[in-house]
């Protein structure tokens, strides 16, 4: 009888550990998978930029500096082969240069009437959104994983199976953190 009770306790404990381990694996896979999603969108942005520069060139001959900054930032973003934090930095720089390009484009009415440019602008700003939503999902996934790794009791299992904490994809531009105002 005592043996039976002991057996039940052991089985329940084993199931519990198994569930927790599987939960950790699921969280880790979610982090990897969502990083893949960011990667896809970043690549797509890299591919779209040459088209944009080409479309804009004819209209914005005077804005050589802006265009060169975008091209250069793209080059750097493609070449960077570091960890998440380094890539995030390069990509954030690219976002900033693109933003200033679109801000400058406001001053060129001909350009803003160009269908090709408008389509590219929609594509790029949507890709920008996709990057930030993918980043949001990635960061949520990282937080879930990190929470599990740090919190009791799952931290015991995480440390015995050597689960690693992951890094967040941080936003650097302070403008994106600005709070809105309401007028009335």
């Amino acid at each position: 009888m005592i043996f039976l009770a002991f057996l039940v306790v052991v089985v329940v404990a084993a199931l519990w550990v198994m569930g927790m381990y599987n939960g950790l694996v699921r969280s880790r896979n979610e982090v990897r998978n969502s990083w893949g999603q960011i990667d896809v969108q970043l690549k797509r942005r890299h591919d779209l930029i040459p088209n944009l520069v080409e479309a804009v060139k004819g209209y914005m001959g005077h804005e050589r500096n802006t265009l060169e900054a975008v091209t250069k930032a793209r080059q750097q973003a493609i070449q960077v082969t570091g960890d998440v934090a380094e890539r995030a930095k390069a990509e954030n720089l690219l976002s900033q240069t693109l933003r200033s390009l679109f801000a400058v484009a406001e001053a060129y009415p001909d350009l803003k009437a160009n269908q090709n440019f408008l389509a590219l602008q929609e594509e790029l700003s949507s890709t920008e959104n996709k990057i930030s939503f993918a980043r949001q999902y990635y960061n949520d996934a990282v937080m879930r994983l990190n929470n599990k790794i740090q919190m009791f009791p799952s931290n015991v299992i995480a440390s015995s199976f050597a689960f690693q904490m992951e890094k967040f994809f941080e936003v650097e531009a302070t403008a994106e953190r600005q709070a809105p105002e309401v007028k009335f």
Binding site: S34, Q41, R99, S126, Y137, A175, Q178, P180, V182, K183
Partner: protein, 403 residues
């Protein structure tokens, strides 16, 4: 997010079991009352009807539904913005692939999602919706629909709906049989006596009550799912005001959706049959009152997580228990809204805002910064001693010197 999906599934499974029990008891007693000893047969028929309807709706439900709504599929070149918004939101929701996009040629602004799982998901919006909403609002509505997809609401609503349909159908058949053939049967089996009389009474009571109970259960699940989809929308977009102002626009529209019927109404963002009857949602409604949904979203302030929604829900409705399942809430952190609409430094919007601020100041407006990030601006002639923030509801007292 996974916890939310799991909690949803558990809850829905319980209700499906409950509905099934109701269905089987109904089938059994009906048959038993009609012909003693035929209870097993009745059970069998009830099962068969339910199984048939379930299979049809599982595999064909979405195409039947799309055909009923007269929706047509579009490609990316037809409407790039809508496509992009759907893709953005499916990334935010972490869906394995973006759902197919359909358009309904109707002036009434509305939308729905269908498909038994995220792999087969479909989002349909009306032409009127695309016309009336700006991008942020469209994003809120699409996120609400994808919330239904991600939380597996579509499947459960379909299952529960079929169950309800079967119960209503059986009760109806039973009622007709009693009415037309019940008398004859009873005389032929006089020996059954008292036992059958009791069975008959139970059957009649069940026949009246079961459809009502089934419908109430169905409606309760439906309303809860709407709140949860709103919460998910806020979490995906991190911008609850987008959906709130979309709901405002939709509720102000007077156009009626002609393709909606009572059967398809629960699937839409806003109940298409209750347009123009604001605040009239009760136990007999598939959707919570739209004004309440707007107030909850508006009072989330600068937060956008499930927990923020739950707090806002309790604050607005005054109910002690929130709408987000406890298990999901335990793991849900507070989230801050990032506000895609926030002006970027140096942008035209920011310059315009700075200029208008200057004009407000020249006209002796008072500026009060609220903790949620909102800046309240009101004229010097404002006589009240305190003012509530429209976003988070915090009440600020006005210093006499400032006025």
């Amino acid at each position: 997010m996974w916890e939310l999906v799991r909690a949803n599934q558990r809850r829905a499974a319980t209700l499906v079991v409950l509905m099934a029990a109701l269905l089987f008891v109904l089938g059994y007693t009906l048959a038993e009352a009609l012909a003693p000893g035929a209870g097993a047969g009745g059970l069998f028929v009830a099962c068969l009807v339910w199984l048939g309807l379930t299979l049809v709706s599982y595999y064909q439900g979405d195409s039947i539904f799309l055909a009923l709504a007269r929706a047509r599929r579009i490609e990316k070149r037809d409407n790039a913005v809508l496509f992009n918004v759907v893709e953005e939101m499916s990334i935010a929701a972490g869906l394995p692939k973006p759902p197919d996009v359909y358009i309904i040629d109707e002036a009434a602004p509305n939308a729905f999602a269908t498909g038994r799982d995220p792999q087969h998901a479909v989002v349909a919006v009306t032409a009127g919706l695309l016309e009336t909403l700006d991008r942020d609002e469209l994003q809120g509505v699409v996120a609400h629909e994808l919330g239904h997809v991600a939380n597996r609401d579509v499947l459960y609503m379909m299952m529960v709906g079929v169950m309800m349909g079967t119960i209503v159908l059986l009760a109806d058949i039973g009622g007709r049989t009693f009415f037309w053939g019940g008398g004859r049967r009873r005389t032929s089996s006089r020996s059954g006596g008292q036992a059958q009389l009791i069975m008959l009474i139970v059957a009649i009571v069940l026949m009246i009550l079961a459809p009502l109970v089934a419908q109430l259960i169905y409606l309760a699940i439906s309303r809860r799912r709407e709140y949860l989809a709103d919460a998910s929308s806020a979490m995906y977009t991190r911008y609850p005001d987008g959906l709130a102002s979309a709901l405002e626009k939709i509720s102000h529209s007077t156009a009626k959706l002609t393709v909606a019927t009572r059967a398809t109404a629960p699937m839409y963002t806003v109940n298409p049959l209750e347009v123009g009857q604001r605040g009239l949602a009760d136990l007999s409604s598939t959707h919570p009152p739209i004004s309440e949904r707007i107030r909850i979203l508006r009072s989330m302030g600068a937060g956008a997580g499930l927990r923020n929604y739950d707090e806002a829900f309790r604050r607005v409705t005054g109910r002690p228990v929130g709408v987000v399942p406890f298990r999901a809430l335990a793991s849900a952190e507070q989230r801050t809204a990032v506000l895609p609409g926030a002006p970027q430094a140096g942008s035209r919007l920011e310059r315009v805002r700075r200029t208008t601020d200057m004009l407000w100041r020249l006209n002796e407006y008072t500026f009060v910064a609220c903790a949620c990030g909102t800046t309240l601006k009101f004229p010097g002639a404002y006589v009240g001693r305190e003012i509530a923030c429209p976003h988070c509801g915090t009440v600020h007292t006005i210093q006499p010197s400032a006025a």
